[in-house]
Symmetry: C2
Subunit: 244 residues, 2 copies
DNA sequence: GATGGTATGTTGGTATACCATATGACCACA
DNA sequence: TGTGGTCATATGGTATACCAACATACCATC
């Protein structure tokens, strides 16, 4: 039905609605810690901040509620969802299962194109890690989240996206992204911490090596080690916060 | 802070908003197949059907969109999400990981109270299976979904809820419920099918027995067998539909 | 200082209005 | 019969208004 010679004329991405833009902005503000865990989200205040009507704000809040990033308090309205270690632990456990499965499948299936894409993603991650280490010391806010939307975060996301996509685990990837959204502040703090025994990029390199070697078992082990350390650091951070 | 002698006076569940009621009704209509896969959801039509304003309907649609039960078509508006085998297969794979993990953990942890609860849930399931077999032949609609909200569906859900709750896998349970929502029509058809090699309740009994015996490995195996059969039947059903 | 009554402001819930865009029906013409 | 033009309708996007419930402030009384 489509005419192959005219595919390039097709408008693939229609203009975004206000609702979509507001959703992205609010999600970004939550993930970066700008809207803090437990903070009330007052509709009229958000309207002023975002310059839109309550209809748009309410629909965005509804979506974020379904995503688990916002909770509705009885008789109080919406607030940024809180996270304790018991919940975070479950999220890390689920990620362990889904990420190990994806890495194994990716290692079993990976062809040269996938390997090249993963190497590029790893290179970007290593570059971002070096770059963020330089800038994160300068001018970091007390939320510790100034790099949450930064290069390292996005590079890490891209790295795993290559793995999940190559494995064909699209739905699992959606789930992992949602879960990561809920622990994004923890992840930002984890990325920022400097007491890791082995740095993140080194662990990612191990994952990459296992996939490049088409070794599913080694890929699963590398993911396990990476996530176990990340969870351990996250636990310490949450417990130091005293359940905040 | 709370006075123990007056806990019974506390109002635990505030009255539901219209939005919550509409959300439940729409979700139920989608899960039961009343709103069919691929069917457009026209806002004004839904307002007439549900007797509420567009604000309420739109907020409910937004939530269902985030849940994956509704898709927004460009220049067309919302429709009930479609499901093909490639996606369903991924969902069964994820369920395999999460349900095996939960059953293992439950088997490792289960005390007498958990075992009793699981036995009761199994008994309800067996009763529902006998009852639905009797009534599903009588007056079943062409959607094959008249028992989707029925006893067997709910009993199956309750059975797994006991397992996930006892295991402490609350977030995994949320995810499984969401995923099951997306394949609810498939599950309804799977439950209704009579060509299973071993019936569902028999497989559930095996899961229950493994948990009662505090045998994590056997619990994982029983879950694997159960889901493998369910996925196989679902695949056949979808392929017979020709990708509908 | 504690407590109850009242007034006021805030805020979420819900309904409605308006607009722009897309679609479909219809018709004229070649 | 195919095509282009026109018009009407349908529908989602967005804004605004109104209301009720709740929280808070204030005051009088004990």
């Amino acid at each position: 039905m489509t005419q192959p010679d005219y595919d390039d004329l097709k408008i693939e991405n229609p203009p975004q609605t206000l609702r979509e833009i507001v959703l992205e902005r609010m999600r970004g503000a939550i993930l970066s810690g700008r809207f803090k865990s437990g903070e009330r989200l007052v509709e009229r205040t958000l309207c002023d901040q975002l310059g839109v009507s309550r209809s748009v704000v309410r629909e965005a809040i509804r979506y974020l509620e379904a995503e688990g990033l916002v909770e509705i308090m009885v008789n109080k309205g919406p607030m940024v969802a809180r996270m304790d270690w018991a919940q975070a632990a479950q999220i890390y456990d689920i990620r362990m299962l889904l990420e190990q499965s994806a890495a194994s499948a990716c290692a079993a299936l990976a062809d040269d194109a996938v390997k090249a894409a993963l190497r590029r993603a790893l290179a970007d991650l290593e570059a971002a890690s070096a770059g963020d280490a330089g800038t994160s010391d300068a001018g970091t806010s007390d939320t510790g989240a100034s790099n949450a939307g930064g290069g390292l975060f996005q590079a890490t996301t891209r790295f795993y996206e290559v793995i999940f996509t190559a494995a064909g685990h699209h739905i699992a990837w959606e789930i992992v992204q949602r879960l990561n959204g809920r622990i994004s502040r923890l992840r930002a703090l984890t990325l920022a911490t400097s007491d890791r025994h082995v740095s993140g990029p080194v662990r990612m390199a191990r994952i990459c090596a296992a996939i490049v070697a088409n070794d599913p078992a080694a890929a699963a082990v590398a993911v396990r080690d990476h996530l176990a350390e990340a969870a351990q650091i996250a636990r310490r951070l949450l417990e130091n916060e005293g359940g905040k």
